[in-house]
């Protein structure tokens, strides 16, 4: 057979878990082969084995039919295997060229780096594959999309024949995704082979030839994309029929809870990222903010929650201004916040679960009196939340770090919902979670809505937005550019709106204006 890469019966263990259990992947010359699985299914581990970052306990790897032993990335390079990492492996203060040649630098006779020669070669490579990269630019000055293309160049410079793309679209705008797909096709045309790691079914259906599915560390099988459907892939990935639709009653919006007018917010580099935004969320409705990452969503949330200064405009909660109050005052005004990055913001990982459950209330009675903590009250509260929200933890005194992502998120949701805030902000509440946890979280959000709370959902997953929201506010370039309902739109139209098209061009009926 003309397999370029074969990974046969690979097993990789880490202390306490089997990350890969008897997985087989065979990649044909000149194909785009998808590796599909949920978060934590073991895709990245498998590819790190192929790339020589991990050594497998069992199984063998063949390159063009030859059995090989890949003990470090250099050897992988020698066999023509290159990896485009999800978290870019780029040294920020270095130039594009310095990053690309790092580890295999061309030198002059005197031992000096021959930077001119390297820049020339990189320019040629870039032109050949249409990558449009400036070899002399500094990494810290170029866009995310270009950084990814630098990563691609890094593998090509080392003569890669097989390119592994690890969740490449996670950080890209729709336009950049289209460009990437073009680049992948031109790579194939030049005789390369590609392994695409992803959990996004649509991408697979669009560009891939074949797909190998992994579930909970086990290989489920390989299918031809031509012969399959999105639904089949989904059930292979999850292991059961997946309903993409969450059951919910029609929303009964009440009075306005959150009201934002003409809001301007700058990011850390003093650039306006929220530019005159208006938004309203009513009691008893879920408003989903759809948009591509980087259009000001994070800054919007940070401004509402008091984590970032608003430069002008007003934010009102229950008709009272909370503009530029500190996070504690905002919380006390009736806001709950499920943060986008639960490890960075949501939890103190080195605190026990119990102490995390009182992260915003520890200074209040009954958890403390005159600054002295009452641990019995803290633990009682924690125990009851753990039970109610089904947080799987050995005990309330276990460190939050030791919990799985899904259980950490349940703990955060329990804590935020329990305070019974009038407004609950959920930022990417299901990112990186498995399907079970996702369903649980969606159900909870809808429950809160039914209790008459206002919910603001921010997500980069259109499925989630379409599925959970009662109303969708499309955010583009720091503004809400359209208000639509899930019933009156579809993903294509949303995609266009998110890319900055006007409502009329997208052909969407605008509900609010």
């Amino acid at each position: 057979m003309d397999y370029v890469i074969e990974m046969l019966n690979i097993r990789k263990e880490f202390p306490g878990i089997v990350a890969n259990d008897n997985i087989t992947v065979q990649v044909k010359q000149g194909e785009i082969h998808a590796l599909l699985g949920e978060n934590g299914a073991g895709k990245s581990t498998l590819m790190n084995v192929l790339f020589g970052l991990y050594q497998p306990e069992q199984g063998e790897i063949r390159v063009k039919g030859q059995k090989v032993n890949i003990t470090n990335p250099n050897i992988a390079n020698d066999f023509g295997i290159g990896m485009v990492h999800q978290h870019f492996m780029l040294v920020e203060p270095f130039t594009v060229t310095q990053n690309i040649i790092l580890g295999s630098e061309p030198t002059t006779k005197s031992g000096k780096i021959n930077i001119k020669k390297a820049e020339r070669e990189i320019q040629e490579l870039s032109d050949r594959y249409g990558l449009k990269v400036d070899p002399t630019a500094k990494i810290s000055d170029i866009s995310v999309g270009m950084q990814q293309r630098v990563e691609i160049l890094k593998t090509l410079y080392r003569g890669a024949e097989v390119l592994i793309f690890d969740e490449p679209t996670a950080v890209l705008t729709p336009q950049e995704i289209n460009e990437l797909i073009e680049i992948m096709r031109s790579l194939i045309k030049e005789g390369k082979s590609i392994i695409l790691i992803t959990h996004k079914l649509k991408e697979i259906m669009e560009v891939c030839d074949r797909c190998t599915v992994i579930r909970k560390g086990k290989g489920i099988g390989t299918v031809n994309i031509k012969d399959t459907t999105t639904n089949e892939l989904a059930s292979l990935m999850v292991g059961r029929e997946v309903s993409f639709h969450t059951e919910k009653k029609k929303a009964v919006p009440g009075q306005t809870i959150l009201e934002i007018e003409n809001l301007f917010v700058k990011d850390a580099r003093k650039v306006d990222l929220v530019k005159g935004l208006n938004l309203e969320v009513k009691a008893g409705e879920i408003v989903g903010i759809a948009g591509v990452d980087g259009n000001g969503q994070s800054e919007l949330i940070e401004a509402i929650t008091g984590l970032r200064k608003a430069n002008s405009g007003s934010i009102k909660l229950n008709n009272k201004s909370i503009t530029n109050l500190n996070p504690r005052k905002v919380t006390e005004s009736g806001l709950g916040h499920i943060p986008q990055d639960r490890h960075k913001y949501g939890l103190v990982l080195d605190y026990p679960v119990a102490e995390n459950m009182v992260l915003q209330t520890y200074y209040k009675k009954p958890y403390s009196k005159a600054t002295v903590l009452n641990f019995k009250e803290v633990y009682d509260k924690a125990e009851s939340l753990i039970k109610e929200y089904d947080v799987r933890t050995p005990s309330a005194s276990t460190l939050a770090r030791a919990l799985s992502g899904g259980n950490q998120q349940k703990a955060i949701i329990g804590r935020e919902v329990d305070r019974s805030p009038d407004l609950l902000i959920a930022a990417q509440p299901t990112r990186g979670l498995d399907v079970g946890a996702i369903e649980f979280i969606h159900k909870k959000l809808i429950e809160e809505r039914d209790k008459g709370k206002a919910i603001l959902l921010v997500s980069f997953e259109l499925d989630e937005i379409m599925d959970v929201s009662d109303r969708i506010a499309v955010m583009f370039d720091g503004k809400i550019v359209a208000n639509v309902t899930p019933e009156n739109t579809n993903e294509q139209q949303l995609g266009l709106l998110m890319a900055g098209s006007q409502l009329s061009e997208a052909g969407v009926h605008n509900d609010s204006e």
Binding site: P327, R328, V348, D350, V372
Partner: protein, 349 residues
């Protein structure tokens, strides 16, 4: 998992101390001394009679406080290398107020201690402020503050407290921690009431860190500043507070020397090393109050006992410095000890 961690938390320091002492024995053997004689001399030097016990306790006293200082900052994620400088300014302040103010003991002594704490706190405030507001790394700033403390203190001793002398007058009895009773009890050692101050400080530290919302915030900030901000805590305030309290502990350690042991302050050619030893104490004591007290006792004993080693066994006192340095290495490299322990356990099963 949690239980394992707790077990390691105790085993790692104990094993490190044993390894350190073993290394000391090997060094003695290699350099032609008898380890048994050497350690016997050390034991006698620390516990030989009432006098040496008194001196040992005197030596332990400031170590507890500098250990607490470093440990306290550590708990909120800050590395206070500046305990050394804070000790020096605390010492200076204690003696200065002791000499300058005339008051009955009941006012004078507390005033001396408070001013020493304030001086140390001020020296901690500067790096705390720079860290909190400008994100400047506290390690470098505290190192620089140490030298600034040293040179300024020497200047003040020479030109303000004395006229070009190298040592100040002794402080009056109203400002002194010295105790005739303790001295008689320990055959006229320099032991003073400071040990009670130090132990009380340890209890305060334990209470603040483990039982109060102040400690809850400080630790949260140490573990995760982002989450602390999200939770509505004032991160800058907590960083500054942590450095200030840490500095106050160290300043108090300086007062132990100033108005406890010596009653004077002299021009220093180099550092007291009390602050640097505090790093060792905090590290060995796992940054908790009880651990710090135990570690301070161990290091105090080693350092005091070392004095007997040259005369009784011919071993240079610096052997103890080597042992202490090695103990810190072992604790700091606890990853490898844990790794060995885990392996040992696995094979045992």
């Amino acid at each position: 998992m949690t239980q394992n961690n707790r077990l390691f938390g105790i085993l790692v320091p104990v094993i490190s101390v044993l390894l350190g002492l073993l290394a000391g024995a090997i060094i003695m053997l290699v350099s032609g001394y008898s380890p048994i004689e050497g350690y016997a001399a050390l034991w006698n030097g620390a516990f030989g009679d009432a006098f040496t016990i008194g001196e040992t306790i005197r030596r332990i006293t400031p170590l507890i406080l500098t250990g607490l200082a470093v440990a306290f900052a550590f708990r909120s994620g800050l590395f206070n290398i500046g305990a050394e400088g804070q000790v020096i300014v605390g010492w200076l302040a204690a003696v200065w107020v002791g000499l300058a103010v005339d008051a009955p003991m009941i006012l004078h002594l507390p005033l001396v201690l408070i001013v020493a704490m304030l001086a140390g706190a001020l020296w901690g405030f500067v790096p705390g402020l720079l860290k909190a507001k400008l994100g400047v790394h506290e390690v470098i700033v505290t190192i620089m503050m140490n030298y600034i403390a040293l040179f300024i203190t020497n200047e003040i001793i020479r030109n303000v407290l004395t006229e070009q002398e190298t040592t100040t007058e002794a402080i009056p009895a109203t400002a002194s921690l010295a105790s005739e009773w303790l001295q008689t009890l320990t055959f006229f050692s320099r032991m003073h009431y400071g040990i009670l101050v130090a132990l009380f400080a340890a209890i305060i530290m334990w209470f603040i860190v483990q039982r109060t919302t102040i400690g809850y915030e400080l630790k949260a900030v140490g573990f995760n500043q982002h989450a602390s901000r999200y939770a509505g805590m004032n991160v800058s305030k907590n960083i500054i507070l942590s450095m200030v309290i840490s500095g106050a502990f160290a300043g108090l350690a300086g007062a132990m020397e100033g108005v406890g042991t010596y009653g004077t302050i002299s021009v220093m050619s180099g550092f007291t090393n009390l602050g640097f030893d505090g790093i060792a104490v905090a590290l060995l004591g796992s940054n908790n109050a009880l651990g710090v007290v135990l570690a301070a006792i161990l290091f105090g004993v080693l350092k005091e006992g070392a004095g007997q080693m040259p005369t009784s066994a011919g071993v240079p006192t610096e052997l103890v410095d080597i042992i202490i340095a090695l103990i810190i290495f072992f604790v700091a490299s606890s990853y490898i000890i844990r790794w060995f322990l885990l392996r040992f356990k696995k094979e045992g099963k």
